[in-house]
Amino acid sequence: MAIGTSRKERIDSLAESSASETGVSLAASAWRRLRRNPVFLVGASIIGLFVLLALLAPVLAPHDPGVRMLADQVSRATNSIPPAQEGHPFGGDQHGRDLFSRVLLGSQQTLLVAVLATVIGLGGGLTLGTLAGAFGGWVDSLVMRIVDVMLSVPSLLLAVSIGALFSSQTQFTVILAVAIVQIPVFARLLRGTMLAQRESDHVLAARSLGVRQRSIVFRHMLPNALGPVIVQSTLVLAVAIIDAAALSFLGLGAADDSVPEWGQMLGNAQNVIDSHPHLAFWPAACIIVVALGFTLVGESLRDALDPKRRR
């Protein structure tokens, strides 16, 4: 009947508009607090700087990072690696490639690894968490047991076990291993906030008005549960970079290193770190600063979105 549906729609849109209104004002007030927060500003500047660097790297880099132009200065016998010299401010790496160009271009791969791993982990976690949080009951129990088991394996061991399933290591297997480790984290987080939403007044109100389950989940529960997930994603961007570096360090990084990535450069530098610490220093410094940038933004986002932390 027309009247019935139109009333339902009206109430639905009303509930929605009030929800989105509070959403907007929440976001707006969060943004006001963020703009004044020096922690956020420092973090955002760092990220902005490195994204810019990644975009401009092909222009800025003086040399091709894959070409062994200083190979004649490399000697395994005398353990020599090209030092800093005219045209090569950082010198060369173990294979005689220009270190400065590799560090510059490494920003591209490293940011790519971080973003892809986070997106994949987020996608998997959202799917599992939404399933568990939306339906509850046995679906919830099953999903959460799987998540518990995944969480009980220390993250690095889990990543390594996943890496071992591939007969050859590429950048993609690294990304996948790092991403899968984050799935249970996202799933658990989302499920928790969704469950809280399920019991909240606006969802009960929508349910009592006969709004369809699908519309409740996607219009009322999910949007309101996303805040903590966004915060977590920002933090995971940092974790992904560090985890990828750890995998490289354990020898599970991509076998092919013609396209530079900081974690891989750092991992590969371990054998020469005592004699040539600068090979590890530059990629490590970049990793630390970028990871710090993501962490600062994540932390300040968390503070801004959490009403309890407004102090």
């Binding site: 993250s155 061991l157 599970l252 990793i287 630390i288 710090l292």
Partner: protein, 336 residues
């Protein structure tokens, strides 16, 4: 409390069961299948056929799983193919476990001993210099890759300054008696003080490197929890009674603030085991982490199997203990 314990033990069994299924599936999903994974390069046609029969690969999958569980229950996880060739995988694990446990325990002790007092002080001096410095420190601590920090510490304090040993668990010349495999504990038990001190000194740098992330987390949770509790109505009630500041802090603030911190400490077990893998490699400590790294390098899946299973079980067990001790502090759980 008893019912709570029983229920948590039940959950523990479920997780271990699920873990065994996962591990079983993992072994079968490895490149080359379980036989070549378990035999490594020692494989001969005869040994492959023998193992195939032993695993029951021609039988239905649930029977295979049952055999897997039965073997695991008797401690048979196969023979090491790369880390310590020919040694049963379980023995490899047992020999190396004490080194890792020793390192992890010292690291978490450092993290607790520094993190909780600093978190508490930072909360009380919110917004002042100490607070801002500690927050910065903890944020940087999270951003530094553990193994790079380990290298850095080793380079500064062992290589450049020579204050602390750079690798291993004990100086070669020391004549130490082995009892438990925990070197520091052994030294104390046998009253070989020089050996105990020497083992402890070897632990310091790796433990400090390993403690950074647990420290950062414990510090931040403590700070946030203390801030929350200071705002609670019952602290105002305590002040309205005229109680001395020290009594309010000890009895009313600290105790409540410790509740979330206790849970956090348990959850750090995973980070500790992950970090130990990296730290042990840098400091060349013959523990589980090194076994794991070597295991992957040399494709020693029998050893990996045990290490993964044991790490997960340690994590679950520690968290069970933490939950039980949580219940002991929080009457709302204990008396339910």
């Amino acid at each position: 409390m008893l019912r709570y314990t029983v229920r948590r033990l039940g959950q523990l069994m479920l997780v271990v069961l699920a873990l065994s299924v996962l591990l079983f599936a993992w072994l079968r999903a490895l490149p080359g299948g379980p036989v070549s994974a378990l035999l490594g390069d020692r494989a001969t046609p005869e040994s492959e056929a023998a193992l195939r029969a032993d695993l029951g690969l021609d039988q239905p999958i649930f029977l295979q799983y049952w055999r897997f569980v039965a073997r695991a229950l008797t401690g048979d996880f196969g023979t090491s193919t790369g880390v310590q060739r020919g040694t049963p995988a379980l023995d490899v694990f047992l020999q190396r476990f004490p080194a890792t446990l020793e390192l992890a325990v010292l690291a978490i002790l450092i993290a607790i001993a520094v993190g909780i007092p600093l978190g508490y002080l930072a909360a009380r001096r919110r917004g002042r210099l100490l607070d801002n410095l500690s927050i910065t420190w903890s944020l940087v601590g999270i951003a530094v890759p553990v193994f790079f920090l380990a290298f850095l510490l080793k380079w500064i304090f062992a290589v450049q300054l020579g204050w602390l040993p750079a690798s291993g668990r004990q100086t070669g010349g020391i004549d130490a008696t082995r009892v438990t495999g925990f070197y520091v504990l052994d030294g104390l038990l046998t009253q070989e003080w020089d050996a105990a001190l020497d083992a402890f000194v070897h632990l310091l740098l790796p433990a400090i490197a390993l403690s950074t992330i647990p420290f950062a987390v414990i510090f931040r949770i403590t700070r946030a929890a203390v801030l929350d509790v200071l705002d609670e109505d019952y602290v105002r009630t305590a002040r309205s009674k005229g109680l001395a500041g020290a009594v309010i802090r000890r009895r009313h603030v600290l105790r409540n603030a410790m509740l979330p911190v206790v849970t956090t400490i348990g959850l750090q077990t995973g980070a500790l085991l992950s970090g130990a893998v990296l730290t042990e490699r840098v400091f060349n400590i013959p523990g589980l982490g090194q076994a794991l790294a070597l295991g992957f390098e040399r494709k020693d899946f029998p050893v990996l199997q045990v290490v993964i299973l044991a790490s997960a079980m340690t994590y679950v067990l520690v968290n069970l203990l933490v939950d039980l001790s949580y219940a002991a502090i929080d009457p709302r759980i204990r008396t339910r």
